[in-house]
Amino acid sequence: MIELIVYGIVLGSIIALGAIGLTMVYRIVGFANFAHGEFMTGGAYVALFVVTILLPWIGFPDSRFVPLSFGWRMVIAFPIAMAVVAILAIALDKILYKKLRAKKSGPVILAMASLGASFIIRMTILIIWGSDYIFYRPGLMRPALDLPLSVKIRPDQIFIFCAAIFLVILLHLFLKRTKMGKAMRATADNTDLALVTGIDTERIIAWTWAIGGGLAAAGGVLYGIDVQLHPGMGWNFLIPIFAATILGSIGNIYGALIGGFVIGIAQQVSTAFLAPTYKLAVAFMIMILILLIRPQGIFGKE
């Protein structure tokens, strides 16, 4: 059971990376982004491209940080994946959502457009890579470490947790210390006043997409390192990240972080009683439960 909780924390840190971006987009751009899961998938596959095609092609040597399953190639691929998805997210905003905002389309229309975008991204990945399950480094034995309390954990999983926490701390410092970060919080607080204050809200929106997309991409790469890559992986994360977002109150970054861990732990612990394929349904049931008991989430007012 303790082992499942530990696995849940690892899964939760990946969910949290998705949920934090989702909750920021939800609050600042103002709609439910159904393409957020595909940002995760996109990040995972961009890293795959860099690790298995781009870097070998330019002759970058393969290496591995034993006992981790990856090496310098992944270290380079990771930020590239985040940057590419960040740019993709901004580009989607410019060619799609911005046009709809200009037409005064409601949030539901924007959400629908994001659903369309999610299929477009997923189909593009399917066209390029097909529907197979892929590993970053196939055929590798990945032994687990024995920790106290009979917890077995792979070194990769410890790395995943640390990487996620590192990114969250970076985000925290960005929001608390930098001018742009404070302006983002201000816009999330009160968009009209931000506009009055002279903050160019379109620029804030672009930053929001970049951060949301980048964090989601990081989550996708980490999931790829932990398990494997599949074009449907992001779609399967969609319900858990929405559940985490709602649990932690929409717009609340720290709520999304905690929500991510709660959902991740609940999903992993449920495998003690249910078939693992029901993980998604577990996240869904928790979400329904919150909607019934406390729809504003744990950190919401009223």
Binding site: F31, A32, F34, L96, K99, L100, K103, S105, P107, V108, I109, A111, M112, A113, L115, G116, A117, F119, I120, M123, T124, L126, I127, G130, W235, L238, I239, F242, I246, A275, T277, Y278, L280, A281, A283, F284, M285, M287, I288, L291, L292, P295
Partner: protein, 322 residues
């Protein structure tokens, strides 16, 4: 011979488009007239198909019982299958509406998405319920013995069209009634509907249930047409997304548009297959993805450049009140 090949192809196309038109009509009640954002159509599709299948097939017996499991098999006529599908979908809609309809529109979207995925997981995993991933087969087809099997699709086309037309007139009647006026008032602005929150909730709930029942009938029509269903059919792509594109293309808030959209988009969908057939052999296996990519882009183009769809919203005026 060539001609009959083509005409049977056209008939099968028309049947599928007709079934999708039923879904579009159901969605139009929810989205077009009430503004409910249901993106879990696949869930109602799935439940409608399975319910009708199990109502109309007998409980497997003898040697089949070892291979086919289903929770019940009533062996009743087709019409009961349609009715059962509608009722069960209505109940599911009620359950999903309770936690979500008081909240913002996007909560319903997330919840319906979740229920659709959960339903698919349940049918996939629970062998005892409806035979797990292998699904159910040999659903009976009405008037099966009237014509030879190769011509049966003509009969089924008529059945589909009749169902579609009945549903069309039922919705038109409902929408032109005072009830329909209230729905549109809710969609436009909940505040000005000058009703209590409880009333708004009730009307939304009725619309959600009504639309979902229609979707259940669509699922049943599908099950008896293909005579074989399995959970892998009811994906977000085939079961939800394409129906949204159809309604948006035809014109939400317009029942004729809903039907037109179903036929146009299904035509484009089938038509793209002819195009992808020209692709080099290596790309052939990815052809469905290319086709769905086109449909996805089509939705974005509609949303940006023609959000009212082909026909646009029809003005509905109640003869009783105006």
């Amino acid at each position: 011979m060539e001609f009959s090949g083509i005409s049977s192809y056209v008939v099968s196309l028309a049947i599928m488009a007709g079934i999708y038109a039923v879904f579009c009509l159901g969605l139009n009640i929810q989205w077009g007239y009430t503004g409910l954002f249901n993106i879990g159509i696949a869930g109602f599709f799935c439940i409608g198909a399975y319910t009708s299948a199990m109502i109309t097939t007998p409980m497997p017996s003898g040697i089949y019982a070892q291979y086919v499991h289903q929770i019940f098999g009533l062996n009743l006529p087709f019409v009961f299958g349609l009715m059962g599908a509608a009722i069960v979908c209505g109940v599911v809609a009620l359950l999903i509406g309770i936690p979500t309809l008081r909240l913002g529109e996007d909560y319903l979207a997330i919840a319906t998405l979740g229920i659709a995925e959960t339903i698919r997981l349940i049918f996939n995993n629970e062998q005892w319920l409806a035979n797990g991933p292998r699904g159910l087969m040999d659903m009976p087809q009405p008037f099966h013995s009237v014509v030879s099997p190769q011509n049966y699709n003509y009969i089924y086309l008529i059945i589909t069209v009749i169902a579609m037309v009945i549903i069309y007139f039922a919705i038109e009647k409902a929408i032109r009634s005072p009830w329909g006026r209230v729905l549109r008032a809710i969609r436009e602005d909940e505040g000005s509907a000058s009703m209590s929150g409880k009333d708004v909730f009730n009307f939304k709930m009725q619309s959600l249930i009504f639309g979902s029942m229609v979707m259940g009938i669509g699922g049943a029509l599908y099950a008896h047409y293909t005579k074989a269903i399995s959970p892998s059919v009811f994906t977000p792509l085939y079961g939800t997304f394409i129906i949204w594109v159809m309604l948006m293309a035809g014109g939400s808030g317009n029942n004729k548009g809903a039907i037109l959209g179903a036929y146009v988009i299904w035509g484009i969908w089938v038509g793209t297959k002819f195009v992808t057939d020209f692709l080099p052999y290596t790309l052939q296996s990815r052809a469905p993805y290319i086709r769905f990519l086109i449909i996805g882009i089509l939705l974005e183009v509609i949303l940006i450049y023609r959000p009212q769809g082909l026909l646009g919203e029809e003005k509905k005026i109640s003869k009783l009140l105006d």
